[in-house]
């Protein structure tokens, strides 16, 4: 199984390399899009090259997702400790209540409150992304059996040591699954960020829709779909590294 893991990582690295090469080869895009849409006078979005657009998009997602992890995981840990246990029901309830909110509505609400640009987009992505991360952190930590914890305390571990060396490793897979969901949602919602001036891969699509240029739309849509699928597979593989249960053989 280790071999299979290694092969998967090699495959994903190669695919990532291919993706970067593909978005960097402007000539190839221009030739293909010209062939597909001979009626358009211009086939590449003039504001920025594809590489820049992808980088803007990735930056938005990395920025908001790092904030999400930095705040969400500690919050999830705190409400499962004795000092924060009073807040567990409300925090858990809020994570499921909040997930009913459509991400696009959260993004839209950020504009009247904060304005246009990158910052409201990052804040909206961060807030929405918190929900699955906090939820899964709580679920992962609560799934650690009391027997295992008792054994850890019996070995003389402090609460802190038990958290770091027993609870977190056992919960890691579920927590990573939450981060995975959050990142994929953020990649999708960041597309809409283009409407409020945050740039990214949504901007050629929006420009294409406004100017009725099919080539721009494809220029944004294809790399965005590839980026999302690639990120999804990378994160799924990362999760598999932390399977400590019988499933590990898979």
């Amino acid at each position: 199984m280790l071999r299979r893991q290694l092969n998967l990582w090699i495959l994903l690295t190669v695919l990532t390399g291919l993706f970067v090469w593909l978005i960097a080869s402007t000539g190839l895009w221009e030739a293909t899009l010209r062939f597909l849409f001979p009626q358009e006078s211009q086939v590449l979005h003039p504001r920025a090259s594809l590489l820049v657009l992808v980088w803007e998009h990735v930056k938005l997602v990395i920025l908001s997702s790092s904030l999400t992890v930095l705040v969400g995981v500690p919050l999830g840990i705190w409400v499962t400790r004795p000092s924060g246990r009073n807040f567990l029901p409300i925090v858990y309830y809020l994570t499921s209540f909040g997930q009913t909110f459509p991400p696009v509505a959260v993004l839209a609400l950020a504009v009247p409150m904060i304005g246009f640009g990158v910052i409201p987009t990052v804040i909206a992505l961060f807030l929405y992304g918190l929900l699955p991360v906090v939820r899964n952190t709580i679920a992962g930590l609560r799934a650690v059996s009391q027997d295992v914890l008792d054994a850890a305390y019996g070995m003389g571990m402090s609460r802190w040591q038990a958290l770091i060396r027993v609870e977190m490793p056992l919960a890691a897979r579920v927590i990573l699954a939450g981060i995975h969901i959050s990142v994929i949602i953020n990649i999708g919602t960041a597309m809409i960020g283009a409407v409020i001036g945050a740039g990214g891969l949504g901007s050629p699509i929006i420009a294409g829709l406004v100017q009725d240029n099919l080539a721009y739309i494809i220029e944004g849509a294809v790399p965005a779909a590839m980026l999302a699928v690639l990120a999804d597979r990378l994160l799924a593989n990362l999760e598999r590294l932390f399977a400590y249960s019988a499933e590990k053989a898979r």
Binding site: N86, F101, P102, V104, V111, G188, I218, V229
Partner: protein
């Protein structure tokens, strides 16, 4: 267990949030629809008497939540929090009209962050009161819904007509209704098709080993693709199709518009429904099916009388997930000309008109919450008695 809980820290936090909300702007007076406004503090917004009333109510909440966590104080605390909600919105509605007196016709008053944060604080207190009132169903319902019911009543009665979102609404009633119906048609129609297709695919995946892997592979991949990208990917082939066969245009099949939106929404609703149908059928206890066979049931009877009712709650849970998700995705479909409530959001963003954005965004959120609540009820009703809760 940890140390004994002596204080109601959640209610205390709620009260502190509420008190903090009194320090920031409650109403914003704008010279016109898109101009930046001046933020008015609590007393400028709702007057000295009104401001002191809200302040007093919040202080009472804080004191009560500091003194203990008993059943009776929870009822009082819950009622207090509901009073805060009702009083704040009564006052805000009343004073928005007064503030506009003597201003130009195009001046507007909108709700500031203070009102929303007071609302949030009040519901934190209400949540905590609900937790304590586990035993009494009547009080729990009163505490949970009283404030909200009054707000809905005030809204219908036109109490908030001088607040900018409602000003934006008036004059657009027809358009609003039309886009709302379009939104419901978009997500309802797609989820209906997605349900039929998803259940069939789910059953197929349980019956055929060969179909299982490709079905899950495709639905998983498509679920990952960003919605705007999928809309975009559908536009090009559909417009090529409509150019090749102009007949199709008579059925509304064009590059942009309803066609790509519905196709994309159907695709997105597949995964939750296929997955839950599959799990619902696979998790059945083989002994139950054996029992059915032993009673002389035919294959069709077993399917109809055992498998369908036992798997139904999980399948419907999948439909719930798909519906809530589709309400949000249908809002994005406005970008490709499919209409719906998203139209207001994107028009508002285009004109930088905050009230127009809210006129789209708030109804979308309310619609998602309503659909969620309705589907949860359906799931509960469909769960056979012997099956316990059936889902989380």
């Amino acid at each position: 267990m940890g140390r004994l809980v002596t204080r109601d820290s959640v209610a205390i936090s709620g009260s502190l949030i509420g008190l903090a909300s009194l320090l920031i702007g409650w109403l914003t007076l704008k010279p016109s629809r898109i101009a930046a406004g001046t933020s008015l503090n609590l007393f400028e917004s709702i007057g000295w008497v009104g401001g002191l009333t809200v302040l007093g109510l919040w202080l009472a909440c804080l004191i009560l939540s500091l003194t203990g966590k008993k059943e009776r104080s929870a009822v009082t605390l819950g009622i207090l929090a509901n009073l805060i909600v009702i009083a704040s919105f009564l006052l805000v509605g009343l004073f928005s009209g007064k503030l506009l007196e003597g201003e130009a016709q195009i001046a507007r008053v909108s709700l500031g962050a203070g009102v929303w944060i007071t609302l949030a604080g009040a519901y934190v207190v209400i949540f905590s009161a609900r937790q304590t009132l586990r035993g009494s169903t009547i009080w729990r319902n009163v505490v949970s819904w009283a404030g909200l019911a009054v707000l809905v009543f005030l809204l219908i009665e036109g109490w908030f007509q001088d607040i900018s979102i409602m000003t934006e609404f008036s004059g657009r009633e027809e358009r609003f209704l039309q886009e709302l119906m379009q939104h419901i048609f978009l997500f309802g129609g797609s989820v209906a098709v997605g349900t039929l297709l998803g259940i069939s695919l789910g059953i197929w995946a349980t019956r055929s080993r060969r179909a299982e892997a490709p079905i899950f592979f495709t639905t998983n991949i498509t679920q990952t693709i960003p919605s705007l990208a999928l809309f975009g990917l559908l536009i090009a082939p559909l417009s090529a199709l409509s150019f090749a066969f102009p007949v199709l245009r008579e059925f509304g099949i064009r590059g942009v518009g309803v066609a790509p939106a519905v196709i994309a929404l159907v695709i997105y609703s597949l995964l939750p429904i296929v997955r839950n149908t599959y799990v619902g059928l696979r998790q059945l206890d083989p002994a139950v099916i054996d029992a059915g066979r032993g009673m002389g049931m035919s294959r069709a009877q077993i399917f109809r009388k055992i498998e369908v009712p036992l798997a139904a709650p999980l399948v419907l849970e999948g439909v719930r997930t798909a519906s809530v998700q589709s309400v949000g995705l249908a809002a994005i479909a406005a970008l490709i000309g499919a209409g719906g409530l998203g139209w207001f959001i994107f028009q508002g963003l285009g004109q930088a008109a905050a009230d127009l954005i809210l006129l789209g965004a708030i109804p979308v959120i309310v619609l998602a919450l309503l659909v969620d609540a309705i589907m949860r009820t359906i799931v509960r009703v469909a769960t056979p008695k012997g099956l316990g809760k059936g889902n989380q």
